[in-house]
């Protein structure tokens, strides 16, 4: 148990520290890298809870896709981050004060709750060892939670439509691949047999 406790506190501390550095790092590329670090630590926490599937999902989706996308965007766009940060010091005192208040309140509540025996009514879930993580999720995702699954699908659909509506532009003069036309090509339309007289060649 001691080992587990050590692992938990380590991972938790790294998550929070990395999160802090995401916000404070001067170089935006560093920020993204710290973000990846935070994701990894969070994945570790999932593993400790016995939720290996979610941990892998976090790594694959967030680290593999989202964070890398961030990295691309940050490196490709020439954003003047120093200008964006100009107000940072100016707003630090009051921002810090608000943050401090929030932290104090969260800690106070946590302490108060912990002293009353943590989360009442919430029994600790013990992961079942009979079936795998993925199977457990799969069993409920398309039955009990089909509604949420479909609704989430709609959210993604909206995101897709939004991306298209806001960014797709039809420029004139762009050649596009017309698959139907390609497929419909037959030898009759695709080629022409010409008798060439020797020494003359084709006129065109």
């Amino acid at each position: 148990m001691a080992l587990q406790a050590i692992a938990f506190y380590l991972l938790a501390a790294v998550t929070i520290g990395a999160g802090l550095l995401v916000v404070t790092a001067r170089n935006p590329v560093h920020s993204v890298l710290f973000l990846i670090c935070a994701f990894f630590s969070a994945a570790g926490l999932f593993v400790m809870l016995g939720a290996e599937f979610l941990a892998m999902l976090l790594v694959v989706v967030y680290v593999g896709a989202v964070a890398v996308l961030f990295l691309f965007v940050v490196m490709m766009l020439d954003v003047d981050f120093s200008a964006l940060r100009a107000g940072f010091v100016r707003y630090l005192p009051i921002g810090g004060l608000v943050a401090l208040i929030l932290v104090v309140e969260i800690v106070a509540v946590s302490a108060s709750v912990a002293s009353h025996g943590a989360a009442a009514g919430a029994a600790v879930l013990t992961p079942s060892h009979d079936i795998t993580n993925a199977e457990a999720i799969g069993r409920v995702l398309y039955t009990d939670y089909v509604y949420f699954f479909q609704a989430a699908g709609l959210v993604l659909l909206v995101a897709m439509i939004g991306a298209i509506v806001l960014t797709l532009r039809h420029r004139a003069g762009v050649r596009r691949q017309n698959i139907a036309a390609q497929v419909a090509r037959t030898p009759a339309t695709g080629m022409r047999i010409v008798q060439i007289k020797s020494g003359e060649g084709l006129s065109e």
Binding site: G87, Y91, G95, V98, I101, L102, E105, A108, V109
Partner: protein
């Protein structure tokens, strides 16, 4: 038709007329407006007489029609209702008869006016309010009618609103009445406090039980019933133009003459008397309040009669006469002879309306001249007017033979009051005895000024004609540079275009005069037994309450002979004096006026009441108003209130507008501030 339906139609018909003429008058035209209002009024009048006959001699009995709830809050209940009993039946015929005749009369009198629909709408509105007042079954509707007639009176006095004096008179009438109404409202509150109800039907049976109730204020015990009745009487004083609150009535003569006849002679001003009679169950248990009523009535009777001696405006003389006669009515009510008060109210309505309408006829005939000094010898030119005015004067002076019990209307009612005052006074009631003495003196004065009016107007030398255009220059009038004299020249704005010879009025005006003249002659003889005589118990049937020890009316027949003959004697003396001053030695009156003796000045200036009020209340109120207006309102209230608040609001608006910088991180920060604030509040509030 059921009795309920009849009385409902009766009360609402004038309102319908007022609505039609008031809202659609311009569309349907003058004649239609006049026809609708007058027609409905005559309908109401016919129904009123039907009701009166059925209630008094038929089998209707006393009943109340509840139309709709009015106010229903907690223990306070008030309904729109029509209460029919002998008392209200009498008022119904008085109000509707005079009103109908005045409507008819106005066809002629107002023929040249541009806004006749408005005039007729106001008249009908007034009639409706007056009917609501007299048929009220509780204090709230009484108050509604009270204020309704006040409003109509205000509108009608100021009918020629472009005339500054008329507007001022209207405002004066309204403001003075407010003083009375304040007392009235306090009286209603006191009554409600005592009885827990404003319904007469609840209050009257409970009066005896509350008779000894007291109210502690400023360390003294006050008899609650006396207090309530005194406060209610303050309201009556305002409406009936009694001493101290009388100043508005003479000025109200700025209104068109039919209005003066209807409102300021026959009906509205008698509302106070009616109210005291209606509340006789309460007043019977309020001895102090009754003393006050008697005293104020007596002082008014004398005061108004003396002032009437020295006035020159024909309408003002009659106005002071009205004031004086109302004093008589209050004397009667105060000594316990409520029936006598109602009787005088009834007969007075006829002959006073007659006098006013007759005066209106004279004014018309004289091309809107109201100053009696510029009249004279009109009897040949206006014979019918002269005859009816003569009848009215005989009636008001109360001429009749006590031995034969034969006389004009005023004879029965006024003598009944004088006798009642003596009867009460002989039972160790000094106030009543004082009232008796006063009323006899006032009867003489009444005779003098009434005949003075007749003589100055219809007899003597004609002061109109060639010199009429420059009135005031004529030798027998006092110099008219006097400010008050000038006031008295109050002209209606719209003169006639034709020549300046006096002429008799059209028949549409004379007919009402003749009808009223019939009333002025016979109303007394016909009704004396029912109102105050042997048949009174049968007539009133409990509508008026007389306490167990109140035998005033029973004692009327056992009076010494000198008391019975005294009124006639002083009346004759007054007549002879008037004849001597204004006929035998014509010019003597003008000479007295020209000398400007102290007594004459005192009377001419109406005991200097207007000046007194102006110096104290008007100036004082103005100074106080200035203090609160400039200091309190403009600096304090406006500065801190509307203007200050507006400035602060705009400032807050600008500040919050500035918060809207447009930067997302500012917005996000405000959101986080909100989260932190709410969390802190929640932790603070929930940890308690």
């Amino acid at each position: 038709m059921t009795p309920q339906l009849i009385v409902t139609v009766l009360v609402l018909a004038p309102l319908l007329g007022a609505i039609v003429a008031g809202l659609f008058g311009r569309r349907i035209g003058n004649v239609a407006s006049q026809a609708v209002t007058t027609g409905l009024l005559f309908l109401a009048c016919a129904l009123a007489w039907t009701t009166f006959a059925s209630v008094i001699w038929g089998g209707w009995g006393h009943f109340t029609v509840e139309l709709a709830p009015f106010i229903n809050v907690g223990a306070f209940h008030s309904d729109w209702a029509i209460r029919i009993d002998s008392l209200s039946a009498v008022m119904l015929i008085v109000v509707t008869s005079v009103s109908a005749l005045v409507h008819l009369y106005s066809w002629g009198y107002m023929a040249d006016d541009d806004s006749r629909p408005r005039f007729f709408a106001y008249l009908s509105l007034f009639t409706f309010a007056m009917l609501a007042l007299v048929t009220a079954a509780d204090f709230m509707q009484l108050f509604f009618g009270w204020e309704g007639v006040g409003l109509a009176s205000y509108l009608l006095i100021g009918f020629w609103y472009k005339k500054p004096t008329a507007s001022a008179a209207a405002i004066k009438a309204f403001v003075v009445n407010r003083v009375g109404d304040f007392g009235f409202a306090l009286g209603i509150m006191t009554t409600f406090w005592m009885f827990g109800s404003v319904r007469f039907a609840d209050i009257f049976p409970a009066v005896a039980a509350h008779a000894g109730q007291t109210w502690t204020f400023a360390g003294h015990y006050w008899a609650a019933m006396d207090l309530a009745c005194s406060l209610l009487f303050v309201g009556a004083m305002g409406k009936s133009a009694q001493f101290f609150l009388h100043t508005w009535l003479p000025d109200a003569m700025e209104g068109p003459t039919p209005v003066s006849a209807l409102i300021h002679a026959a009906t509205m001003v008698t509302a106070g008397v009616y109210m005291v009679c209606l509340l006789s169950p309460m007043f019977e248990y309020a001895p102090v309040a009754r003393q006050i009523v008697t005293g104020v009535g007596a002082v008014t009777a004398l005061f108004a009669a003396t002032v009437g001696l020295a006035q020159n405006d024909i309408k003002r003389v009659i106005a002071y006469s009205t004031c004086s006669q109302l004093g008589y009515m209050f004397i009667a009510a105060g000594v316990g002879a409520y029936q006598g008060a109602m009787f005088h109210l009834f007969t007075h309505a006829f002959f006073k309306a007659l006098l006013f309408l007759g005066a209106g006829s004279v004014i018309m005939g004289m091309h809107h001249e109201q100053d009696m000094r510029n009249m004279g010898a009109l009897w040949k030119k206006l014979p019918i007017t002269y005859v009816v005015m003569l009848i009215g004067t005989i009636a008001i002076t109360g001429v009749g033979l006590p031995g034969l019990e034969l006389g004009f209307a005023g004879f029965y009612s006024k003598d009944a009051i004088i006798d009642a005052a003596f009867a009460a006074g002989s039972h160790n009631n000094s106030t009543a005895y004082f009232a008796f003495v006063i009323s006899v003196i006032a009867a003489g004065l009444t005779s003098f000024y009434s005949w003075r009016l007749i003589f100055m107007t219809f007899h003597g030398h004609a002061k109109w004609g060639a010199a009429a255009a420059t009135h005031g220059v004529h030798g027998d009038a006092e110099p008219s540079h006097d400010a008050h004299a000038h006031d008295d020249h109050a002209h209606d704005d719209h003169g006639h275009g034709h020549d300046h010879t006096p002429h008799e009025s059209p028949w549409v005006m004379l007919l009402p005069l003749l009808a009223l003249a019939v009333g002025a002659v016979f109303a007394g003889k016909v009704f004396v037994e029912q109102f105050v005589g042997e048949g009174r118990a049968e007539f009133w049937r409990g509508a008026i309450f007389n306490g167990a020890s109140n035998h005033v009316l029973d004692n009327l027949h056992v009076l010494p002979a000198w008391v019975v003959w005294a009124p006639l004697t002083v009346t004759a003396i007054g007549f002879v004096l008037a004849w001597y001053v204004y006929i035998a030695k014509e010019g003597m009156g003008a000479a007295i006026a020209a000398r400007r003796g102290p007594l004459w000045t005192f009377l001419y200036n109406k005991w200097f009441f207007d000046e007194l009020y102006d110096a104290t209340f008007v100036r004082g109120a103005k100074a106080l108003g200035d203090l609160f207006w400039k200091g309190g309102d403009q600096r304090l209230i406006d500065g801190l209130g509307p203007n200050g608040v507006a400035a602060v609001s705009a400032l807050i608006g600008r500040r919050t507008g500035k918060m809207q910088t447009g930067y997302v991180y500012h917005y996000a920060f405000v959101m986080l501030l909100g989260v932190a604030g709410l969390l802190s509040f929640a932790l603070y509030a929930w940890s308690k």
